[in-house]
């Protein structure tokens, strides 16, 4: 295996045994980037000097005999909606195409504090609005398994970077599935932690009551290490949960005997690709054979999650995106007649089609006369969806479903049909509405494209998710499948 194919914990072992240096790891990852980036297009900005400086620092510590942390010197890619002081943070939007933040997001600060080497800022759907990374204001990203297909979205650049070996791990953000669906499409692991587990300070807001930062990794051990690095209370985010810091590696236990798992039948209903369903059923059999107790259950309000989500998320977005007015930062048109003219023309020039569509929908559902019928109704339905989960978790430790109804689709296949595109997120959206944690784990291939298995857990019970995923990983080849990535060779 090449260095860029290894996991963070494996590389850490090699670093501490002085078999390799952190500078060599960074150099190998950039060689890989130089070789495949033209085809994959994961990055908006590469930060080679930053990575080399972090790696050199790790090497200095090792040479001096100092102890290094488990993620020190490990190359990481970060979605371009997390603020990085001194480094362009564009959100893949023309409206922020020159924005260099004066501060760093807490999650990124924690990644720096862990000694990780930032290799670049990754491509995404503009303002995290989309399921394919085709809505980037700059260029689409290609799926490393098949370059004619999308990597999923909105964190498509981060997922593709890990799958293609352009970074060892990555961070993304998930508002309705934007970590889990691209993880599924790219054959890596992606996790959305519980709402409030990771600080949102410095994450450019899309829908504040749903947004959550989380990692992409190639195996479950790396996932636990990344959660250790980024979770924790932050006084700078008033919705950050004030809980004791957990050590997630303690959840890496190869045992799920007696674990109770519910499979909501609504998630396996029509619309799911039959071959995807087959892989999911095989995974269920595997879990049963490993001692878990799996049975079908019902979450009766599942079908209402998609419309409720699109009303809530767009309402929050229309408010959050009001700040892009061309005054303090961001794109501004020349020769505006007055300030209103400046607002309107700057926003229209800077925002892409999907962003404008969502601002329009959100503004409409919040406007006088429609608020009760749409926005307030959606908030009440959110309660019903949350109650479905509360009831299910009285009976089960985990819930299981496909991450996406299909494998990666072709670039261009769905761009003209927003409703069809929105249906991509039907299995992932309810999780954000309920605020619970969930992860997507590869569980096999269909026509040489990866399928993702979604595990959903109780609020702040990331540990049980990790234990189930780890047990599956130890007893299958699921998390070794990504090394079959052939699209870029």
């Amino acid at each position: 295996m090449e260095l860029f194919q290894l996991t963070a914990h494996r590389l850490h072992g090699m670093l501490t045994k002085k078999e390799i240096s952190a500078s060599e790891i960074t150099s190998e990852v950039f060689k890989r980037i130089d070789r495949v980036e033209e085809k994959v297009k994961s990055f908006i900005t590469q930060t080679r000097e930053h990575a080399e400086a972090a790696a050199a620092n790790t090497d200095r510590k090792i040479a001096a005999g100092e102890k290094i942390g488990p993620l020190e010197g490990i190359p990481v890619a970060i979605k371009d909606n997390m603020c990085t002081e001194g480094i362009l943070t564009s959100c893949a939007s023309k409206i922020l195409n020159k924005f260099v933040p004066p501060y760093t997001a807490t999650a990124v600060d924690k990644v720096y504090a862990a000694g990780m080497a930032l290799v670049g800022k990754t491509n995404m759907d503009e303002f995290a609005m989309g399921s394919s990374t085709e809505n980037s204001g700059f260029f689409p990203t290609h799926n490393p398994w098949d370059l004619e297909r999308v990597p999923g979205g909105s964190s498509g650049g981060s997922a593709a970077a890990v799958a293609a070996g352009e970074a060892i791990v990555a961070l993304g953000s998930d508002t309705g599935g934007s970590i889990r669906q691209p993880a599924s499409f790219c054959g890596v692991i992606g996790m959305k932690p519980t709402y409030g587990a990771v600080s949102r300070y410095g994450l450019v807001a899309y829908a504040s009551s749903l947004d959550q930062i989380g990692p992409f990794t190639k195996d479950v051990t790396d996932m636990a290490l990344m959660l250790n690095a980024i979770c924790g209370h932050d006084p700078l985010d008033s919705t950050s949960a004030n809980l004791k810091q957990s050590d997630y590696t303690k959840a890496l236990v190869n045992d799920i005997k007696g674990l109770k798992i519910g499979v909501p039948k609504e998630y396996l209903a029509e619309g799911i690709d039959p071959q995807v369903k087959e892989r999911i059923l095989e995974a269920i059999n595997k879990l049963t054979s490993l001692g878990a107790y799996v049975e079908e259950t019902s979450m009766p309000h599942t079908d209402y999650a998609m419309p409720a989500y699109y009303l809530i998320a767009t309402a929050e977005a229309s408010s959050n995106l009001a700040r892009y007015d061309g005054v303090g930062y961001g794109l501004r048109v020349e020769d505006a007649e007055d300030v209103i003219d400046m607002y309107m023309r700057s926003r229209s020039l800077g925002f892409g089609t999907e962003v404008k569509r969502r601002i329009m929908l959100g503004t409409y559902s919040l406007s006088a006369g429609y608020y009760d019928a749409y926005y307030l109704k959606a908030l009440k339905v959110r309660t019903l969806i949350k109650q479905d989960f509360d009831r299910a978790f009285e009976k089960y430790d985990l819930l299981l479903s496909p991450t996406s109804p299909s494998t990666a689709f072709k670039i261009g296949e769905m761009v003209n049909d927003p409703v069809q595109m929105y249906l991509q997120d039907v299995c992932t959206i309810p999780v954000n509405l309920a605020g619970i944690p969930a992860l997507s784990l590869p569980c096999g291939l269909v026509n040489n494209l990866p399928v993702g298995l979604q595990l959903m857990g109780k609020a702040f019970d990331e540990g049980t998710l990790l234990r189930a995923a780890y047990t599956l990983e130890q007893n299958t080849d699921y998390t070794r499948l990504w090394s079959e990535v052939k699209g870029v060779e």
């Binding site: 924005f99 004066p102 009551s209 699109y310 329009m360 019903l384």
Partner: protein
């Protein structure tokens, strides 16, 4: 049904200037999306409280002390236009 006039009104509220093409496109697409959203009306929610936030949120207080802050030059560094220590905008009235 949303009309083209509704779209124009909403665009003004959202401070967006749309081309004729965009107005046609959004009229059609918003109608499609809201059609899908009408499914929610079939649910009886008369006794259901709304959930704006999943966490039990309370006010977060801190001492009223001056903390760290970015300096003037950093704050103005991304300004499209500035004059002295101010953000400069076109005429307002």
């Amino acid at each position: 049904m949303i009309s083209k006039q509704d779209v124009e009104h909403v665009a003004l509220l959202g401070r967006l200037e749309l081309s004729d093409e965009e107005k046609e496109l959004y009229t059609e697409q918003l109608n499609k999306i809201l059609d899908a959203a009408r499914a929610l009306q079939t649910l009886d929610t008369s006794s259901v409280p709304p959930t704006a936030h999943v966490l039990p949120i309370q006010n977060v207080f801190r001492e009223d002390k001056v903390g760290e802050h970015i300096n003037l030059e950093e704050a103005l560094a991304n300004a499209p236009e500035r004059e002295d220590n101010f953000f400069k905008v076109p005429k307002i009235v």
